[in-house]
């Protein structure tokens, strides 16, 4: 390792050195330009970015080193756990640097931002005028929002890599190196996504995580379902990416730049326009940008109508589900909106759309989650649902709440997934909650049981857990903030909170407590690598001699740390109280802020804007209402209300009660009096609900609907095109080919070698010629 530490800085030095050389000839001009913008920015209260230390670029670079090392392991067919430990080492170092980056930034005072340019990526100019240049460096932009995301990305990445070192052990020497290569590549891509200085680097990370997700979902590539799921994830994400790409185009055309620090001052005038009640004056080209960007966010963060890929993504190995499809990648959409928050404030429709999509997704996914039997799928739908909460948080002007929920969710959802993974691993791939019971009381499963309980309590929003505080923040704010139908969003979220508590504890009461009983799955490790996940209907013969194997040291250690972290995360709510907690402070000092004195909507003028909001007309005034409510806080609290109470205070009690009702229902239906794994009281209740549970179990037939409305018609169209291509387009060509041949075959008999035939022809031709000349000359 010591040699490595020597190599890396020199590597960086060489890379950056070469950049400086082929750097801009007109750097001086650029600086002047930037300085002008910076001074503008300062006048608006945004701290201009300063060049940061180069070691910050190591944070994404170390995972790339991991990619290289694990690739070497693959080439040399390493038959040990070496790739895992290399990965853990690289990611841990990356995490260490992230902490150092946070320290560095904190040392610079609140609101400061840092830009580190790794190398030049795109630079194309077509004129000397301003904006006649498309420039996107491979650069990193570090503010507190970046730090928040990177801390849990690299932190969880390290822990989950450690967990995976044991979880993937049966693949050592086979797919082990491949797994960790993709794992490293994922962390690199995620780092680019989060740390990118411009929208293009973000897009690189955005597509990069998509690729890694594709590779990792399809990890068990012999299994057709996994290949299908991987493909589906990539393609559905691409639909979203299309929106993001067009958003980037429009941003560039409209503002002449895609770099964040240059963008903020340019967006500012439009925000002022909206603030002063002239939302109608914002050109369509500007207000369309957030709409396009959010399509990308909906794809990556699995929101309606593009959520369908995430549940299927559970075909991947569980550590992947935990890291990519629960904790980090799927929050990229939330990050995008938080990062581009100023842009979302220029459209009066953008945030309400985000809110409604989020709320409906939260509810829909929760209803599906209630009816599933596969515990991993339940967790997947729960992720979709919780992401809906985060989007609502953004929409109701509680970017703090959204970010806090992202943060707490990352820990407790990772815990939940890893617990499910441990169960799956120990019971040969069994995930059906009707076939497992009382796991927590089996020998060696104590830590898993406790970690699961912690995770469930958090997800259910049990009082004083981290999940409780973060969810409350969003719930309360959705009642406070006024907007088109925002009250309804609040109620939807509240109901969903109850459903969440129910389905979460349904899993817990069915699988982890109650009478001990189990039925192993169909994956016995001996033949795991040979035929992938075999067919469903394997004879029960193997079951008799099957013994569940309890998790080992690495898994237990990681689960313990994560469970602890999930609990401790609640503490973040109590430090920096004046900023709504530590996360709140990080958000307030970043571009996702809308209230702090350092940004676009000043904190102090809440009352003023309250007035503006009140006099504002209709839709246009709606958002300001919300801003005023959120920003003015104390003064504006009376503005939004929850059944006549102050939502901020009332919500603590209300959501506690709702959560407890949900848990209680699960306790009654799935624990009390249950004697077997397969049946509980809930089954007696089902007939009374008619076909609804069946519909919910079939995911409301959304997949079938998409298939019938989009996939099948496209498929038909493709076949039609293919037929047209062969018969019509090529047919015409062939006809054109046949025609001369036909003419030739008619004319050929004339060339018969008979002399007087030719003589006749010559005379005839001559006569025609003469006739033509005579006729023309007349």
């Amino acid at each position: 390792m010591t040699t490595l530490t020597h190599i890396i800085p020199s590597l960086v030095a060489s890379v950056t050195g070469s950049l400086v050389q082929d750097g801009h000839a007109d750097a001086a001009g650029e600086v002047g330009h930037a300085a002008e913008q910076v001074s503008h920015a300062v006048s608006q209260g945004i701290t201009p970015p300063v060049d940061g230390p180069l070691w910050i670029a190591l944070i994404p670079l170390l995972p790339i080193l991991g990619v290289v090392l694990t690739t070497l392991c693959a080439i040399f067919k390493v038959k040990s756990k070496l790739p895992a430990f290399l990965t853990v080492g690289c990611l841990a170092a990356s995490f260490g640097l992230t902490v150092a980056m946070y320290q560095h930034l904190s040392g610079m005072g609140p609101g400061s931002t840092v830009v580190v340019t790794a190398f030049e990526w795109f630079d194309l100019s077509w004129g000397a005028g301003e904006g006649q240049r498309f420039q996107a460096d491979f650069a990193f932009y570090v503010d507190t929002l970046t730090c928040l995301w990177m801390l849990f990305v690299t932190g969880l990445g390290t822990l989950i890599a450690l967990y995976a070192s044991e979880y993937m052990a049966q693949d050592v020497g086979k797919g082990y190196s491949r797994f960790f290569m993709a794992f490293n590549l994922f962390v690199f891509s995620m780092a680019c996504l989060v740390m990118g200085e411009n929208l293009l680097v973000l897009f690189l990370g955005w597509e990069g995580v998509g690729l890694c997700s594709y590779l990792l979902i399809g990890y068990f590539y012999k299994k057709p379902a996994a290949v299908e799921a991987a493909k589906k994830a990539f393609i559905v994400n691409r639909i979203g990416d299309l929106g993001l790409l067009l958003g980037i185009f429009l941003t560039f055309v409209k503002f002449g730049t895609v770099s964040y620090p240059e963008l903020w001052p340019l967006v500012e005038p439009y925000i002022q326009m909206v603030k002063s009640g002239h939302a109608g004056d914002v050109p369509l080209t500007v207000s369309l940008i957030p709409i396009l960007l959010m399509v990308g966010a909906f794809g990556k963060s699995a929101q309606l109508p593009l959520y369908v890929w995430l549940p299927d993504a559970m075909e991947g190995p569980t550590p992947v589900s935990a890291l990519i499809h629960a904790a980090t990648m799927v929050t990229a959409g939330v990050y995008l909106i938080a990062r581009m928050y100023p842009m979302f404030l220029v459209s009066e429709y953008a945030l309400p759309i985000v809110g409604w999509i989020g709320a409906l997704t939260a509810l829909l996914a929760a209803t599906i989650g209630m009816a599933q039997f596969d515990i991993k799928r339940i967790m997947a739908y729960s992720t979709v649902s919780q992401l809906g909460y985060m989007f609502c948080g953004l929409a109701v002007l509680s970017s703090t709440g959204a970010a806090f929920h992202v943060f707490t969710h990352a820990f407790f959802k990772a815990t939940l997934f890893l617990c499910c993974g441990a169960v799956m691993h120990g019971f040969a791939g069994q995930l059906d909650l009707r076939k497992l019971s009382g796991v927590a009381f089996m020998k060696g499963w104590g830590i898993v049981g406790i970690a699961m309980l912690v995770g469930c309590l958090n997800l259910a929003g049990f009082p004083f857990t981290a999940g409780f505080f973060s969810k409350d923040m969003i719930l309360a704010e959705s009642f406070v903030t006024a907007g088109p139908g925002y009250g309804a969003i609040g109620w939807i979220l509240l109901i969903t909170a109850g459903l969440t508590a129910y389905y979460t504890f349904r899993v817990f009461f069915r699988v982890f407590v109650g009478p001990k009983a189990f039925e192993p799955g169909d994956e016995l490790h001996e033949d795991h690598g040979d035929d992938g996940h075999g067919d469903e209907s394997r004879p029960e013969a193997g079951a008799t001699k099957f013994h569940p194997h309890a998790p080992g040291l690495a898994v237990n250690l990681v689960l313990g740390i994560l469970a602890l972290a999930s609990i401790v995360a609640a503490g973040a709510y109590f430090v920096d109280k004046e900023d709504h907690g530590w996360v709140g402070r990080l958000v307030h000092e970043s571009s996702a802020n809308y209230t702090g004195s350092a940004a676009f909507l000043e904190h102090g003028d809440g009352a003023h804007r309250l007035e503006a909001g009140a006099t504002g007309d209709g839709e246009a005034g709606a958002v300001e209402h919300g801003e005023a409510g959120a920003a003015g806080h104390g003064a504006a609290a009376a503005h939004g209300s929850f059944l006549g109470m102050d939502p901020h205070k009332a919500m603590y009690y209300v959501s506690s009660v709702v959560g407890l009702i949900g848990i209680g229902a699960a306790f009654y239906l799935h624990y009390l009096g249950r004697t077997t794994a397969a049946r509980s009281k809930a089954d007696d209740l089902l007939p009374a609900l008619g076909p609804i549970p069946r519909w919910a179990q079939h995911k409301w037939y959304v997949d079938e609907f998409y298939n019938a409305v989009i996939v099948v018609p496209l498929r038909v169209l493709a076949h039609v095109f293919h037929a047209i291509d062969r018969l019509l387009v090529d047919g015409v060509v062939n006809l054109a080919g046949v025609l001369p041949r036909f003419v030739g075959s008619r004319i050929r008999p004339w060339q018969n070698g008979v002399m007087h035939g030719y003589a006749v022809g010559m005379v005839g031709g001559l006569a025609l010629l003469i006739a033509a000349v005579v006729l023309l000359s007349m």
Binding site: D22, F119, E120, W121, F122, D123, L124, S125, W126, G127, A128, G129, E130, G131, Q132, F134, F138, L200, F203, L204, E207, G208, L211, Y214, L215, Y221, K222, V227, A230, K231, F234, I235, R238, I239, D241, L242, L245, L246, F249, L250, F252, V253, K254, F255, G256, T257, P283, T285, V286, L714, R715, A718, H719, F721, H722, D725, V729, D730, V733, G737
Partner: protein
């Protein structure tokens, strides 16, 4: 001189191949290609990359019949030079990739491959129409032989169709080119075949005549690209051609079409181009989606990649007709990048074919377990092809689409200003529809990878490793050999490098592209590119180009001194 060598060396080695014994043919051919590649690299070295001097260079002129402007003149700008380098790079790789797959008539194969190489270089190096056209047409003959003799089952029909289709198109293009020459002579500039001179004279052609020239040129070059709806020769030719033939076909031969569009269509019909660009763009976009969807239902993997070329090159032509620097840069990069990634895909399919003797995805699939290295490369190049940021395909596709998006004169009137927009006749809607092609590309390419690499292993009946027959000794190992990896690695390296460091390449082609854009714009009375310090958006382009259009000729007459003015 170096350019002449680049053409002559492969021809000499071709003679050597013919003269030598058959079992030495591939060695001589490889050496010849390698020498050509080294020469091309040397040309890169001696080329003056200084921005101001970056015009047609390395010239060589031999007069033959000066009164009629006949002669032989060579010379390249940076765009042409890069394409020569691309061809010279693929050359040795093609020989290496065909090392074991060609078992009979090796001398014929390698000799014609070298001749093809010379002809391709000639097209890019030509500075006069005569040489250009001769080389352009001559490429057909080696390719015809390669398909006819070394193709698979349906090779006869494929070779004839390939030859007749593209030949017919080119003849019409010749008529268009000659018309421009005649126009120059008619307008008192004398007989000249010099491309650069003609470019400046052609702008004075009335719009009506330009339209005819445009259509004639497109008839020839669109077939070559190929654009929808004149693409049907390509899937057939690709499927039947031997691996090296497919690689050269996709990698370089198709680029002759786009290169010719860049070199002739834009400068020879600058006013008409503006009028017809939207129509051409619609064809491109329809082709992107149409061919993409057809890919999605293919079962023949080679046909799939062939159709994907039709789809991909739609982006390339679209960028060209955005008529701005962004789009055109993207387009030229596309020519290079597509050559690398699609060339590699054809190599991969060829390596697979050599082992399984089938291209049907019904008969072979799930190869990741049997050929992990092959599958890794397959996924890599698919990702380059699908336009994953960080790899080369993204850069060119992004620029082509951005160029299309920007290119709308109406942006100038948009409230609040649009600093990132340029003059042009396409616009956001074109980009929106073209961009759906990105989704379609993911659909068919992942379908291909999903079938070929992943899923349960499928092998054709009778293919069995334990089955030893007399050809056992020659049998290739299950996975790629070092030779095959050696073919793919340079391509993979370049894909990654150009994905992360596209700017040096972009800068190197900036000057000729700006010149072309300026040529088109000034013919239409627009002067967006001309420096310095005129903040854009001050003029009203829509008004200006309207004026340029209605009397049907270029607003600013361009004298013979334009050349110096343009180059500055």
């Amino acid at each position: 001189m170096i350019l002449a060598l680049l053409i002559l060396v492969p021809l000499l080695f071709a003679l050597g191949v013919v003269a030598a014994p058959a079992h030495r043919a591939r060695f001589i051919a490889f050496l010849g290609m390698l020498v050509t590649f080294v020469l091309a690299c040397y040309a890169l070295f001696v080329f003056n990359w200084d921005f101001a001097a970056n015009r047609t260079q390395l010239g060589l002129s031999i007069e033959w019949f000066p009164k009629l402007g006949l002669g032989l003149s060579l010379g390249v700008d940076s765009v042409a030079l890069w394409l020569i380098v691309l061809a010279a790079l693929l050359g040795p790789l093609c020989v290496l990739g065909s090392w074991t797959s060609i078992t009979t008539q090796q001398r014929t194969f390698f000799a014609w491959l070298l001749v093809l190489q010379a002809a391709l270089t000639g097209v890019f190096a030509a500075r006069d129409l005569m040489l250009f056209y001769i080389c352009f047409e001559f490429t057909l003959i080696p390719m015809f032989v390669l398909i006819r003799v070394f193709g698979s089952t349906n090779r006869k029909a494929a070779s004839v169709k390939f030859f007749m289709y593209t030949f017919t198109g080119s003849v019409i293009a010749l008529a268009g080119l000659l018309y421009v020459v005649w126009f120059a002579a008619r307008s008192g500039f004398g007989w000249t075949l010099d491309i650069e001179q003609l470019s400046h004279i052609a702008a004075r052609m009335p719009a009506g005549e330009q339209a005819f020239v445009l259509l004639a040129l497109l008839a020839g070059f669109a077939v070559k690209v190929p654009l929808f709806p004149v693409h049907t020769w390509l899937p057939l030719a690709h499927t039947e051609a031997p691996t090296a033939g497919s690689v050269i076909l996709a990698g370089v031969l198709l680029k002759l079409g786009t290169y010719a569009m860049y070199r002739f269509v834009l400068p020879f019909a600058p006013v008409a181009v503006m009028e017809y660009a939207p129509a051409i763009a619609v064809l491109c976009i329809f082709g992107i989606i149409y061919a993409g969807l057809i890919c999605w239902v293919q079962t023949d993997v080679k046909k799939l990649v062939a159709y994907s070329s039709v789809s991909h090159l739609g982006f390339c032509v679209l960028g060209l007709f955005a008529l701005n620097v962004t789009g055109m840069t993207g387009s030229v990069l596309y020519m290079i990048n597509h050559g690398l990634s699609t060339g590699a895909l054809f190599f991969l399919i060829g390596f697979m074919y050599e082992r399984y003797h089938t291209r049907s995805m019904r008969e072979v699939g799930g190869l990741a377990s049997k050929m992990p290295v092959w599958a890794t490369f397959m996924v890599f190049f698919t990702m380059a092809s699908v336009g994953l940021p960080g790899l080369n395909g993204f850069v060119s596709e992004f620029l082509c689409m951005l160029g299309t998006f920007q290119a709308d004169a109406a942006w100038a009137g948009v409230e609040g200003g649009t600093p990132g927009a340029t003059w042009g006749v396409l616009g956001p809607w074109f980009a929106v529809f073209a961009a759906t092609g990105v989704i379609v590309a993911a659909m068919y390419l992942l379908y291909m990878v999903g079938r070929m690499c992943f899923g349960p292993l499928v092998e054709p009946a009778g293919h069995d490793d334990d089955h030893h027959d007399e050809s056992d000794k020659k049998k290739l190992p299950a996975d790629l050999t070092f030779r095959e990896i050696g073919v793919l690695l340079p391509l993979a390296g370049l894909c990654l490098y150009l994905g992360l460091q596209p700017t040096p390449l972009m800068r190197s082609i900036e000057a000729p592209i700006k010149m072309t854009v300026r040529l088109v714009q000034s013919a239409n009375g627009i002067s967006e590119i001309r420096p310095p310090m005129s903040p854009r958006g001050t003029g009203d382009p829509s008004h200006e180009d309207g004026a340029a259009q209605h009397d049907g000729r270029g607003a600013e007459p361009l004298g013979t001194d334009t050349e110096t003015e343009v180059v500055r």
